[in-house]
Protein backbone atom coordinates (compact mmCIF):
# COMPACT_ATOMS: atom_id res chain seq x y z
CA UNK A 1 0.00 0.00 0.00
CA UNK A 2 2.65 2.39 1.11
CA UNK A 3 4.74 1.57 -1.89
CA UNK A 4 1.85 2.07 -4.21
CA UNK A 5 1.12 5.39 -2.60
CA UNK A 6 4.70 6.55 -2.89
CA UNK A 7 4.89 5.53 -6.53
CA UNK A 8 1.69 7.44 -7.15
CA UNK A 9 3.28 10.41 -5.50
CA UNK A 10 6.27 9.95 -7.69
CA UNK A 11 4.23 9.92 -10.90
CA UNK A 12 2.49 13.04 -9.68
CA UNK A 13 5.82 14.68 -9.02
CA UNK A 14 7.10 13.72 -12.43
CA UNK A 15 3.99 15.06 -14.07
CA UNK A 16 4.32 18.28 -12.14
CA UNK A 17 7.95 18.58 -13.11
CA UNK A 18 7.16 18.00 -16.74
CA UNK A 19 4.42 20.58 -16.55
CA UNK A 20 6.74 23.06 -14.89
CA UNK A 21 9.38 22.50 -17.53
CA UNK A 22 6.86 22.97 -20.26
CA UNK A 23 5.89 26.25 -18.61
CA UNK A 24 9.46 27.37 -18.33
CA UNK A 25 10.27 26.61 -21.93
CA UNK A 26 7.28 28.74 -22.76
CA UNK A 27 8.11 31.52 -20.31
CA UNK A 28 8.28 34.08 -23.09
CA UNK A 29 4.68 33.31 -23.85
CA UNK A 30 3.54 34.63 -20.49
CA UNK A 31 2.38 38.13 -20.14
CA UNK A 32 3.88 38.84 -16.77
CA UNK A 33 3.79 37.16 -13.36
CA UNK A 34 0.02 37.51 -12.97
CA UNK A 35 -0.52 35.61 -16.19
CA UNK A 36 1.87 32.90 -14.99
CA UNK A 37 0.07 32.69 -11.65
CA UNK A 38 -3.24 32.35 -13.46
CA UNK A 39 -1.87 29.51 -15.56
CA UNK A 40 -0.39 27.78 -12.48
CA UNK A 41 -3.67 28.17 -10.64
CA UNK A 42 -5.35 25.99 -13.26
CA UNK A 43 -3.32 23.03 -12.05
CA UNK A 44 -5.27 23.25 -8.79
CA UNK A 45 -8.38 22.36 -10.76
CA UNK A 46 -10.66 24.34 -8.49
CA UNK A 47 -12.82 27.40 -8.87
CA UNK A 48 -10.66 30.50 -8.71
CA UNK A 49 -12.65 31.61 -5.68
CA UNK A 50 -11.56 28.53 -3.78
CA UNK A 51 -7.95 28.65 -4.84
CA UNK A 52 -5.30 28.10 -2.22
CA UNK A 53 -3.04 31.10 -2.44
CA UNK A 54 -0.52 29.38 -0.19
CA UNK A 55 -0.31 26.45 -2.57
CA UNK A 56 -0.14 28.80 -5.52
CA UNK A 57 2.72 30.70 -3.90
CA UNK A 58 4.56 27.41 -3.46
CA UNK A 59 3.93 26.45 -7.06
CA UNK A 60 5.23 29.79 -8.25
CA UNK A 61 8.34 29.60 -6.06
CA UNK A 62 9.00 26.07 -7.30
CA UNK A 63 8.67 27.32 -10.83
CA UNK A 64 11.16 30.13 -10.28
CA UNK A 65 13.53 27.71 -8.52
CA UNK A 66 13.33 25.37 -11.49
CA UNK A 67 13.96 28.20 -13.89
CA UNK A 68 17.07 29.11 -11.91
CA UNK A 69 18.32 25.52 -12.11
CA UNK A 70 17.83 25.59 -15.83
CA UNK A 71 19.68 28.91 -15.83
CA UNK A 72 16.81 30.63 -17.53
CA UNK A 73 16.81 34.36 -17.27
CA UNK A 74 13.60 35.53 -15.74
CA UNK A 75 12.53 39.10 -16.10
CA UNK A 76 12.84 41.21 -12.98
CA UNK A 77 9.12 41.44 -12.30
CA UNK A 78 8.92 37.63 -12.06
CA UNK A 79 11.57 37.76 -9.36
CA UNK A 80 9.86 40.62 -7.56
CA UNK A 81 6.71 38.53 -7.51
CA UNK A 82 8.68 35.54 -6.22
CA UNK A 83 10.11 37.59 -3.38
CA UNK A 84 6.73 38.94 -2.52
CA UNK A 85 5.11 35.49 -2.61
CA UNK A 86 7.81 34.18 -0.31
CA UNK A 87 6.97 36.99 2.08
CA UNK A 88 3.27 36.24 1.72
CA UNK A 89 3.90 32.56 2.38
CA UNK A 90 5.69 33.31 5.61
CA UNK A 91 2.89 35.63 6.71
CA UNK A 92 0.31 32.99 5.95
CA UNK A 93 2.21 30.27 7.81
CA UNK A 94 3.30 32.18 10.90
CA UNK A 95 0.87 33.30 13.54
CA UNK A 96 0.11 37.04 13.18
CA UNK A 97 2.50 39.29 15.02
CA UNK A 98 0.39 41.97 16.71
CA UNK A 99 3.31 44.41 16.73
CA UNK A 100 3.55 44.22 12.95
CA UNK A 101 2.01 47.00 10.92
CA UNK A 102 0.24 46.69 7.64
CA UNK A 103 -2.22 44.27 6.13
CA UNK A 104 -2.44 40.68 7.26
CA UNK A 105 -1.40 37.74 5.14
CA UNK A 106 -5.06 36.89 4.60
CA UNK A 107 -5.80 40.36 3.27
CA UNK A 108 -2.88 40.18 0.87
CA UNK A 109 -3.89 36.70 -0.25
CA UNK A 110 -7.47 37.83 -0.76
CA UNK A 111 -6.33 40.67 -2.94
CA UNK A 112 -4.16 38.41 -5.05
CA UNK A 113 -7.11 36.05 -5.46
CA UNK A 114 -9.20 39.05 -6.51
CA UNK A 115 -6.62 40.07 -9.09
CA UNK A 116 -6.49 36.58 -10.55
CA UNK A 117 -10.24 36.35 -10.70
CA UNK A 118 -10.49 39.79 -12.27
CA UNK A 119 -7.90 38.98 -14.92
CA UNK A 120 -9.68 35.74 -15.73
CA UNK A 121 -12.99 37.60 -15.91
CA UNK A 122 -11.54 40.13 -18.33
CA UNK A 123 -10.14 37.32 -20.51
CA UNK A 124 -13.52 35.60 -20.58
CA UNK A 125 -15.22 38.90 -21.40
CA UNK A 126 -12.74 39.64 -24.15
CA UNK A 127 -13.51 36.24 -25.66
CA UNK A 128 -17.24 36.97 -25.43
CA UNK A 129 -16.79 40.30 -27.19
CA UNK A 130 -14.71 38.77 -29.93
CA UNK A 131 -17.29 36.03 -30.41
CA UNK A 132 -20.03 38.54 -31.11
CA UNK A 133 -21.44 39.16 -34.57
CA UNK A 134 -19.14 41.60 -36.27
CA UNK A 135 -19.81 44.42 -38.67
CA UNK A 136 -18.43 43.45 -42.05
CA UNK A 137 -18.33 39.76 -41.14
CA UNK A 138 -21.76 38.81 -39.83
CA UNK A 139 -23.82 41.90 -40.44
CA UNK A 140 -23.33 44.60 -43.00
CA UNK A 141 -23.80 48.27 -43.58
CA UNK A 142 -25.32 49.87 -46.64
CA UNK A 143 -23.29 48.94 -49.68
CA UNK A 144 -23.98 52.05 -51.73
CA UNK A 145 -24.16 54.89 -49.26
CA UNK A 146 -25.60 58.03 -50.77
CA UNK A 147 -23.64 61.18 -50.36
CA UNK A 148 -25.12 63.93 -48.39
CA UNK A 149 -24.72 67.12 -50.34
CA UNK A 150 -23.74 69.94 -48.16
CA UNK A 151 -25.35 73.20 -49.04
CA UNK A 152 -23.71 76.24 -47.65
CA UNK A 153 -26.00 79.11 -46.95
CA UNK A 154 -24.57 82.31 -45.65
CA UNK A 155 -26.61 84.63 -43.57
CA UNK A 156 -25.33 87.99 -42.52
CA UNK A 157 -25.93 89.52 -39.18
CA UNK A 158 -25.49 92.90 -37.65
CA UNK A 159 -26.63 94.31 -34.37
CA UNK A 160 -28.01 97.66 -33.42
CA UNK A 161 -24.69 98.36 -31.78
CA UNK A 162 -22.89 97.68 -35.06
CA UNK A 163 -25.22 100.10 -36.69
CA UNK A 164 -24.70 102.77 -34.08
CA UNK A 165 -20.96 102.29 -34.15
CA UNK A 166 -20.99 102.45 -37.91
CA UNK A 167 -22.93 105.63 -37.88
CA UNK A 168 -20.82 107.14 -35.15
CA UNK A 169 -17.75 106.24 -37.12
CA UNK A 170 -18.99 108.13 -40.15
CA UNK A 171 -19.97 111.14 -38.12
CA UNK A 172 -16.68 111.16 -36.27
CA UNK A 173 -14.88 111.01 -39.54
CA UNK A 174 -16.80 114.04 -40.68
CA UNK A 175 -15.92 115.93 -37.54
CA UNK A 176 -12.26 115.31 -37.92
CA UNK A 177 -11.87 115.59 -41.60
CA UNK A 178 -9.52 118.59 -41.29
CA UNK A 179 -7.18 116.62 -39.06
CA UNK A 180 -7.05 113.55 -41.22
CA UNK A 181 -6.06 115.79 -44.07
CA UNK A 182 -2.95 116.71 -42.11
CA UNK A 183 -1.70 113.16 -42.13
CA UNK A 184 -0.16 113.50 -45.50
CA UNK A 185 1.88 110.36 -45.35
CA UNK A 186 -1.19 108.22 -44.61
CA UNK A 187 -2.99 106.62 -47.49
CA UNK A 188 -6.39 105.58 -46.14
CA UNK A 189 -8.19 102.42 -47.05
CA UNK A 190 -11.02 104.50 -48.45
CA UNK A 191 -8.59 106.22 -50.75
CA UNK A 192 -7.09 102.92 -51.76
CA UNK A 193 -10.53 101.46 -52.37
CA UNK A 194 -11.52 104.38 -54.51
CA UNK A 195 -8.33 104.16 -56.48
CA UNK A 196 -8.60 100.42 -56.97
CA UNK A 197 -12.23 100.48 -57.96
CA UNK A 198 -11.26 102.57 -60.91
CA UNK A 199 -8.42 100.25 -61.84
CA UNK A 200 -9.69 96.73 -61.33
CA UNK A 201 -11.74 96.85 -64.50
CA UNK A 202 -8.42 96.51 -66.29
CA UNK A 203 -6.98 93.83 -64.02
CA UNK A 204 -7.78 90.80 -66.15
CA UNK A 205 -4.37 89.24 -65.50
CA UNK A 206 -2.70 88.38 -62.19
CA UNK A 207 -0.92 91.51 -61.10
CA UNK A 208 1.15 92.21 -58.02
CA UNK A 209 -0.92 94.41 -55.72
CA UNK A 210 2.11 96.62 -55.21
CA UNK A 211 1.58 97.88 -58.74
CA UNK A 212 -1.58 99.53 -57.45
CA UNK A 213 0.31 101.86 -55.13
CA UNK A 214 -0.37 105.47 -56.09
CA UNK A 215 2.33 107.38 -57.88
CA UNK A 216 4.78 109.09 -55.55
CA UNK A 217 4.11 106.69 -52.65
CA UNK A 218 6.60 103.98 -53.52
CA UNK A 219 9.81 105.55 -52.29
CA UNK A 220 9.35 107.16 -48.90
CA UNK A 221 9.30 104.15 -46.49
CA UNK A 222 6.56 105.58 -44.30
CA UNK A 223 4.33 106.42 -47.23
CA UNK A 224 5.06 103.13 -48.88
CA UNK A 225 4.10 101.22 -45.75
CA UNK A 226 0.83 103.07 -45.38
CA UNK A 227 -0.06 102.74 -49.06
CA UNK A 228 0.83 99.03 -49.08
CA UNK A 229 -1.28 98.35 -46.01
CA UNK A 230 -4.31 100.23 -47.29
CA UNK A 231 -3.99 98.76 -50.77
CA UNK A 232 -3.87 95.30 -49.25
CA UNK A 233 -6.88 96.03 -47.04
CA UNK A 234 -8.74 97.45 -50.01
CA UNK A 235 -7.88 94.31 -52.02
CA UNK A 236 -9.39 92.17 -49.28
CA UNK A 237 -12.47 94.33 -49.26
CA UNK A 238 -12.81 93.98 -53.02
CA UNK A 239 -12.29 90.22 -52.75
CA UNK A 240 -14.98 90.09 -50.09
CA UNK A 241 -17.30 91.91 -52.44
CA UNK A 242 -16.49 89.30 -55.05
CA UNK A 243 -14.93 91.80 -57.41
CA UNK A 244 -11.41 90.42 -57.44
CA UNK A 245 -9.51 87.25 -56.67
CA UNK A 246 -6.35 87.27 -54.63
CA UNK A 247 -3.58 84.71 -54.49
CA UNK A 248 -0.22 84.26 -52.88
CA UNK A 249 1.99 81.30 -53.71
CA UNK A 250 3.62 81.11 -50.27
CA UNK A 251 4.34 83.19 -47.20
CA UNK A 252 5.97 86.50 -48.07
CA UNK A 253 5.60 85.86 -51.79
CA UNK A 254 4.09 88.70 -53.83
CA UNK A 255 0.35 89.00 -53.44
CA UNK A 256 -1.41 88.98 -56.76
CA UNK A 257 -4.83 90.13 -57.74
CA UNK A 258 -7.07 89.97 -60.76
CA UNK A 259 -10.59 90.87 -61.68
CA UNK A 260 -13.06 88.13 -60.88
CA UNK A 261 -14.53 86.69 -64.03
CA UNK A 262 -18.23 87.46 -63.90
CA UNK A 263 -19.05 84.26 -65.72
CA UNK A 264 -17.44 82.20 -63.01
CA UNK A 265 -18.72 84.24 -60.16
Amino acid sequence: MAEEFSSELQTDAVAARLAAEALIVDVDGFEGPLDLLLTLSRTQKVDLRKISILELAQQYLAFVEKAKQLRLELAADYLVMAAWLAFLKSRLLLPPDPSEEGPSGEELAAHLAFQLERLQAMRDSAAKIMARDRLGRDFFARGIPEDVTRIRRVTYTATLLDLMQGYARIRTRDDFRPFTMDRDSVFTMEEALERMRGLIGYAGEWTDILSYLPAGWENDPQKRRSATASTFAASLELAKEGKVEIRQSESFAPIQLRKKDEDHA
Binding site: V148, I151, A158, L163, Y167, A168, I170, E241, K243
Partner: protein, 222 residues
Protein backbone atom coordinates in the same frame (compact mmCIF):
# COMPACT_ATOMS: atom_id res chain seq x y z
CA UNK B 1 -41.31 3.30 -45.99
CA UNK B 2 -42.18 3.81 -49.59
CA UNK B 3 -39.67 2.54 -52.04
CA UNK B 4 -40.91 3.88 -55.29
CA UNK B 5 -38.24 5.67 -57.23
CA UNK B 6 -40.28 8.83 -57.65
CA UNK B 7 -40.71 8.95 -53.95
CA UNK B 8 -37.02 8.73 -53.34
CA UNK B 9 -36.45 11.52 -55.76
CA UNK B 10 -38.99 13.57 -53.94
CA UNK B 11 -37.27 12.91 -50.64
CA UNK B 12 -33.94 13.94 -52.01
CA UNK B 13 -35.43 17.10 -53.33
CA UNK B 14 -36.90 17.90 -49.96
CA UNK B 15 -33.39 17.73 -48.51
CA UNK B 16 -32.61 20.71 -50.64
CA UNK B 17 -35.96 22.31 -50.12
CA UNK B 18 -35.80 25.99 -50.68
CA UNK B 19 -36.45 28.27 -47.69
CA UNK B 20 -39.96 29.72 -47.43
CA UNK B 21 -40.67 32.66 -49.72
CA UNK B 22 -40.70 35.09 -46.79
CA UNK B 23 -37.18 33.97 -45.97
CA UNK B 24 -36.09 34.33 -49.57
CA UNK B 25 -37.48 37.83 -49.52
CA UNK B 26 -35.37 38.64 -46.44
CA UNK B 27 -32.32 37.30 -48.20
CA UNK B 28 -32.89 39.41 -51.29
CA UNK B 29 -33.44 42.39 -49.03
CA UNK B 30 -30.17 41.90 -47.18
CA UNK B 31 -28.15 41.28 -50.35
CA UNK B 32 -29.56 44.30 -52.17
CA UNK B 33 -28.99 46.44 -49.10
CA UNK B 34 -25.37 45.45 -48.54
CA UNK B 35 -24.24 45.14 -52.12
CA UNK B 36 -22.03 47.88 -53.49
CA UNK B 37 -23.74 47.67 -56.88
CA UNK B 38 -27.03 46.53 -58.38
CA UNK B 39 -27.40 42.74 -58.33
CA UNK B 40 -28.79 40.63 -61.16
CA UNK B 41 -31.41 37.96 -60.60
CA UNK B 42 -28.86 35.38 -61.62
CA UNK B 43 -26.38 36.54 -59.02
CA UNK B 44 -29.08 36.62 -56.38
CA UNK B 45 -29.98 33.03 -57.22
CA UNK B 46 -26.31 32.06 -57.14
CA UNK B 47 -25.82 33.56 -53.73
CA UNK B 48 -29.04 32.32 -52.18
CA UNK B 49 -29.47 28.69 -51.13
CA UNK B 50 -30.29 26.07 -53.71
CA UNK B 51 -33.85 26.15 -54.99
CA UNK B 52 -34.55 29.80 -54.27
CA UNK B 53 -36.45 31.90 -56.74
CA UNK B 54 -35.02 35.37 -56.52
CA UNK B 55 -37.27 36.72 -59.27
CA UNK B 56 -40.37 35.87 -57.28
CA UNK B 57 -38.87 37.07 -54.00
CA UNK B 58 -38.08 40.38 -55.66
CA UNK B 59 -41.71 40.81 -56.70
CA UNK B 60 -42.75 40.46 -53.07
CA UNK B 61 -39.93 42.64 -51.83
CA UNK B 62 -40.70 45.38 -54.32
CA UNK B 63 -44.32 45.36 -53.25
CA UNK B 64 -43.36 45.53 -49.60
CA UNK B 65 -41.38 48.69 -50.16
CA UNK B 66 -44.07 50.44 -52.16
CA UNK B 67 -44.74 53.83 -50.66
CA UNK B 68 -41.85 53.45 -48.21
CA UNK B 69 -38.85 55.72 -47.85
CA UNK B 70 -36.79 53.21 -49.80
CA UNK B 71 -37.69 51.59 -53.13
CA UNK B 72 -36.65 48.40 -54.86
CA UNK B 73 -35.83 49.41 -58.40
CA UNK B 74 -34.58 47.77 -61.55
CA UNK B 75 -31.34 49.20 -62.88
CA UNK B 76 -30.74 47.74 -66.31
CA UNK B 77 -30.81 43.98 -65.81
CA UNK B 78 -30.05 44.25 -62.14
CA UNK B 79 -31.85 45.24 -58.97
CA UNK B 80 -31.01 47.79 -56.34
CA UNK B 81 -32.54 49.56 -53.38
CA UNK B 82 -32.68 53.32 -53.53
CA UNK B 83 -34.13 56.07 -51.40
CA UNK B 84 -37.50 57.30 -52.62
CA UNK B 85 -37.02 60.11 -55.14
CA UNK B 86 -39.42 62.43 -53.32
CA UNK B 87 -37.15 62.33 -50.26
CA UNK B 88 -34.08 63.51 -52.14
CA UNK B 89 -34.23 66.76 -50.24
CA UNK B 90 -33.23 64.89 -47.10
CA UNK B 91 -29.93 63.96 -48.66
CA UNK B 92 -28.72 67.47 -48.36
CA UNK B 93 -27.39 69.02 -45.30
CA UNK B 94 -27.75 72.72 -45.12
CA UNK B 95 -24.96 74.45 -43.37
CA UNK B 96 -25.88 77.89 -42.30
CA UNK B 97 -22.92 80.11 -41.85
CA UNK B 98 -23.44 83.36 -40.10
CA UNK B 99 -21.13 86.13 -41.04
CA UNK B 100 -20.80 89.60 -39.79
CA UNK B 101 -22.09 92.19 -42.21
CA UNK B 102 -19.23 94.08 -43.84
CA UNK B 103 -18.28 97.45 -42.55
CA UNK B 104 -19.32 99.06 -45.83
CA UNK B 105 -22.72 97.44 -45.61
CA UNK B 106 -23.22 98.42 -41.97
CA UNK B 107 -22.31 102.02 -42.68
CA UNK B 108 -24.58 102.16 -45.70
CA UNK B 109 -27.39 100.61 -43.71
CA UNK B 110 -26.82 103.04 -40.86
CA UNK B 111 -26.96 106.00 -43.19
CA UNK B 112 -30.16 104.77 -44.77
CA UNK B 113 -31.70 104.16 -41.35
CA UNK B 114 -30.73 107.58 -40.00
CA UNK B 115 -31.37 109.62 -43.13
CA UNK B 116 -34.12 107.86 -44.98
CA UNK B 117 -35.31 108.44 -47.60
CA UNK B 118 -31.83 108.85 -48.97
CA UNK B 119 -30.36 108.65 -52.45
CA UNK B 120 -27.20 106.81 -53.40
CA UNK B 121 -25.44 110.10 -54.03
CA UNK B 122 -26.34 111.23 -50.52
CA UNK B 123 -25.04 108.02 -49.01
CA UNK B 124 -21.78 108.47 -50.86
CA UNK B 125 -21.57 112.05 -49.74
CA UNK B 126 -22.00 111.07 -46.11
CA UNK B 127 -19.70 108.04 -46.21
CA UNK B 128 -17.11 109.86 -48.21
CA UNK B 129 -16.66 106.88 -50.50
CA UNK B 130 -18.64 105.46 -53.34
CA UNK B 131 -21.20 102.84 -52.47
CA UNK B 132 -20.75 99.63 -54.36
CA UNK B 133 -23.64 98.08 -56.17
CA UNK B 134 -22.94 94.82 -54.32
CA UNK B 135 -23.44 96.45 -50.95
CA UNK B 136 -26.80 97.92 -51.88
CA UNK B 137 -27.88 94.69 -53.58
CA UNK B 138 -26.95 92.72 -50.50
CA UNK B 139 -29.03 94.94 -48.25
CA UNK B 140 -31.93 94.79 -50.71
CA UNK B 141 -31.69 91.03 -50.86
CA UNK B 142 -31.68 90.75 -47.08
CA UNK B 143 -34.82 92.86 -47.22
CA UNK B 144 -33.42 95.31 -44.75
CA UNK B 145 -33.76 98.18 -47.22
CA UNK B 146 -36.11 98.82 -50.11
CA UNK B 147 -36.61 101.49 -52.70
CA UNK B 148 -38.49 104.54 -51.50
CA UNK B 149 -40.17 107.01 -53.77
CA UNK B 150 -38.10 108.99 -56.24
CA UNK B 151 -36.87 112.41 -55.29
CA UNK B 152 -38.41 115.38 -57.01
CA UNK B 153 -34.99 116.61 -58.03
CA UNK B 154 -33.29 116.61 -61.40
CA UNK B 155 -32.75 113.06 -62.58
CA UNK B 156 -35.45 111.94 -60.16
CA UNK B 157 -33.05 109.67 -58.28
CA UNK B 158 -34.44 106.68 -56.38
CA UNK B 159 -34.23 106.70 -52.64
CA UNK B 160 -33.67 103.97 -50.12
CA UNK B 161 -35.58 103.37 -46.90
CA UNK B 162 -35.39 100.66 -44.27
CA UNK B 163 -38.03 97.95 -44.19
CA UNK B 164 -40.28 96.68 -41.40
CA UNK B 165 -38.12 93.54 -41.41
CA UNK B 166 -35.15 95.70 -40.55
CA UNK B 167 -37.01 97.34 -37.67
CA UNK B 168 -38.12 93.95 -36.48
CA UNK B 169 -34.62 92.51 -36.66
CA UNK B 170 -33.14 95.39 -34.70
CA UNK B 171 -35.98 95.59 -32.21
CA UNK B 172 -37.12 99.03 -33.23
CA UNK B 173 -40.69 100.29 -33.38
CA UNK B 174 -39.73 102.82 -36.02
CA UNK B 175 -36.63 104.43 -37.46
CA UNK B 176 -37.29 107.27 -35.01
CA UNK B 177 -36.26 104.95 -32.20
CA UNK B 178 -32.70 104.88 -33.43
CA UNK B 179 -30.47 106.43 -30.80
CA UNK B 180 -29.62 110.00 -31.64
CA UNK B 181 -26.17 111.53 -31.75
CA UNK B 182 -26.53 112.63 -28.15
CA UNK B 183 -27.11 109.08 -27.04
CA UNK B 184 -24.31 107.82 -29.20
CA UNK B 185 -22.07 110.30 -27.50
CA UNK B 186 -23.36 109.35 -24.06
CA UNK B 187 -22.67 105.74 -24.90
CA UNK B 188 -19.09 106.68 -25.68
CA UNK B 189 -19.48 105.94 -29.35
CA UNK B 190 -18.81 109.51 -30.29
CA UNK B 191 -15.83 110.49 -28.28
CA UNK B 192 -15.53 114.10 -29.07
CA UNK B 193 -18.14 116.72 -29.15
CA UNK B 194 -17.79 118.47 -32.47
CA UNK B 195 -17.43 122.24 -32.30
CA UNK B 196 -20.80 123.98 -32.55
CA UNK B 197 -21.93 124.62 -36.06
CA UNK B 198 -19.46 122.25 -37.60
CA UNK B 199 -22.04 119.51 -38.07
CA UNK B 200 -22.46 119.06 -41.74
CA UNK B 201 -25.97 119.36 -42.89
CA UNK B 202 -27.41 115.94 -43.23
CA UNK B 203 -28.31 114.71 -46.64
CA UNK B 204 -26.36 117.54 -48.09
CA UNK B 205 -25.64 116.88 -51.73
CA UNK B 206 -26.22 118.45 -55.04
CA UNK B 207 -29.56 116.73 -55.53
CA UNK B 208 -30.88 116.94 -52.03
CA UNK B 209 -31.32 120.59 -51.25
CA UNK B 210 -35.05 120.61 -51.29
CA UNK B 211 -35.40 117.60 -49.09
CA UNK B 212 -34.69 119.26 -45.78
CA UNK B 213 -38.19 118.84 -44.46
CA UNK B 214 -38.22 115.16 -45.31
CA UNK B 215 -34.96 114.31 -43.64
CA UNK B 216 -34.82 113.10 -40.11
CA UNK B 217 -31.93 115.28 -39.14
CA UNK B 218 -33.82 117.10 -36.44
CA UNK B 219 -34.23 113.80 -34.70
CA UNK B 220 -30.57 113.56 -34.06
CA UNK B 221 -29.77 117.01 -32.93
CA UNK B 222 -31.63 117.21 -29.69
Amino acid sequence: MKTMPEDIEEKEESLFEAPPMAEQERMCEAILFASAEPVSVKELNDRMPHGCDAAEALVHLRKRYEGRGVHVTKVGDAWAMRTAPDLGFLMQKEMVETRKLSRAAIETLAIIAYHQPVTRAEIEEIRGVSVSRGTVDQLLEMEWIRFGRRKMTPGRPVTFVVTPQFLDEFGLESARDLPGLKELRAAGLLENRPPPGSMPKLGESEDAEEEASEGQSELFED
